[in-house]
Amino acid sequence: MNLLEMKGVSKIYGNVHALQNIDLIVEQGEWLAIMGPSGSGKTTMMNIVGCMDKASRGSVILHGVNISQESAKNLTAIRRDKIGLIFQQFHLINYLTALENVMVAQYYHSIPDEAEALRSLERVGLKDRAKHLPSQLSGGEQQRVCIARALINYPMLILADEPTGNLDEANEKIVLDILKQLHKEGSTIIVVTHDPEVADEAQRTVVLEHGKIARIVRNNKEV
């Protein structure tokens, strides 16, 4: 079943064509990587899929809903219920502990549940760091908190924009292992990366250039 269908999607900022006529289908349970030079439109595409931004043209159907035509209010609700976001800069709230940062996502979704938030931290191997503030955690640990937060509401799609961009190799491997595990459990993942090693783990890699899909690589083989 197709989780995501993009048809003729363009995004235009003034005279910048950040995305041009994108057609892409992502199946449920697929792990997709997006690569491309800086400014090629990777983040723009993630924002459109993640209901943070609207396409200027074309249709985006996420889980049967045409999100290119929804109101901002509905997009917020869809994002809350269906999407888990992982950021390059982690974006943790600095005065809240790791556990509380995870619970923030629960708070806006339903109700905070400390035991469940702890389990989510346990999945990323941070159970013993639950009471630490972001400033007391390493970059890799902060990214794992960010992942635990993204997972807490069981999203049907995980979007990660350069999740290992700020991490060293050891931490990159830890994060990658978590993503692998999630994929094994059936999560659909789209990850933007500059790192071929990260892209190698995906089933397909979409390469963007100047807002267009230059090529799609499946298991390291040109399609």
Partner: protein
């Protein structure tokens, strides 16, 4: 945040302080104004041209307890010194002193029988100084004549008609001309013009033979001064509240700007605009409540300080002022938060969460 709290506290302080002073001014100033002399006089309305002691006492029952500053009855009579006629006024000297505190006495008030206060004009005419003496001659009410020596205890200066009078105690006058009724009773009452009108109406209705008159010159200028003072207080309070609002709005704006990333993140995590609004309004309400409470307490201290230093009197806390100040603080912070909250809902997560 602390700045905003301080601003609200100061705003509420000024508000509650000023309101307290505002409501206290009439009372405070009422006392002060009493130094301008009598504001209500009683004269006879009946056929009998004078007021009896009983009539006076009955009229006095209508004066509100505690607000009477002085009630001085006067009896007038002409008499001669060296064949020159002068007006003599017999009064209760201690009451006259209270009712007319603006009299300036060079020397002292009479302390024993046979002493009199003379007006400056009289003193000039007969060339007398405090300590000097003069002889009064005249006819008493029963037709007989009298001659008696008086010593001058002091000379009064008022700039008004009193300077042409000779003042002595009622007892001294009664001894000279025989007991009798009052020509006029001058009353100094600490009350507003409206209250005085009310008192006057009650007296003329219930006490036959007594005609109360307001001293318009005094009561009206009091009213005008009070109105001006109160509108000044009003204006100052309004300006301070406006400043408070601007300060809170600026601080909240800065708080929102500082937390744009956090707001963007919360939105990305699915926070509806409503949640964001509630969070900031919650902070505003907290700010308003805490600032308001601080303001009530500080405002009372402030009002007390003003009152003690300016009016030399302490004040009592008006219980109604506590909820009123709190509500006002909520309204002010609420209004001040409108624009900042709006700008918080305008945060676009896609933009603020984009890489640095």
């Amino acid at each position: 945040m602390l700045v905003a709290l301080l601003a609200v506290a100061i705003g509420a302080t000024v508000l509650s302080g000023m309101v307290t002073v505002y409501y206290d001014i009439p009372r405070q100033m009422g006392q002060e104004f009493r130094s301008y002399g009598a504001n209500l006089i009683l004269v006879s309305s009946g056929d009998n041209p004078a007021l009896s002691i009983e009539e006076t006492e009955r009229a006095k029952e209508y004066f509100p307890a505690g607000s009477v500053v002085g009630v001085a009855p006067y009896r007038y009579k002409t008499a001669k010194i060296n064949e020159q006629p002068f007006m003599i006024a017999g009064t209760e000297l201690s009451e006259a002193k209270k009712a007319s505190p603006y009299w300036f006495v060079n020397g002292g008030w009479p302390e024993s029988a046979g002493e009199a206060l003379i007006g400056q004009e009289v003193a000039d005419t007969i060339r007398l100084l405090p300590g000097g003496s003069f002889t009064l001659t005249g006819t008493s009410t029963d037709g007989g004549s009298f001659t008696r020596d008086f010593s001058v205890s002091g000379i009064i200066q008022t700039g008004g008609t009193e300077e042409a009078f000779i003042f002595m105690s009622l007892e001294d006058l009664d001894n000279l001309i025989g007991a009798g009724a009052f020509d006029v009773v001058e009353c100094s009452i600490s009350a507003t013009e409206a209250e005085l009108n009310n008192i006057a109406a009650q007296i003329s209705e219930n006490v036959p033979g007594v005609a109360p008159r307001l001293v318009k010159r005094v009561t009206q200028s009091e009213g005008a001064v009070l109105a001006k003072l109160q509108s000044l207080v009003y204006l100052v309070t309004a300006v301070v509240l406006l400043l408070t609002m601007i300060c809170v709005a600026t601080t909240m704006m800065a708080v929102v700007a500082e937390r744009r990333r956090e707001i963007g993140l919360k939105k990305a995590l699915g926070a509806a605009n409503k949640s964001i609004i509630n969070e900031f309004l919650g902070e505003g309400v907290f700010l308003g409540g805490l600032g308001g409470l601080l303001g009530v307490a500080l405002g009372f201290v402030f009002a007390q300080f003003v009152s003690v230093n300016v009016f030399h009197r302490s004040i009592t806390l008006q219980p109604m002022l506590i909820p009123a100040t709190l509500i006002m603080s909520f309204i002010i912070t609420g209004l001040a938060c409108l624009a900042p909250v709006r700008s918080a809902t305008d945060v676009d997560p896609a933009i603020v969460l984009r890489g640095e």
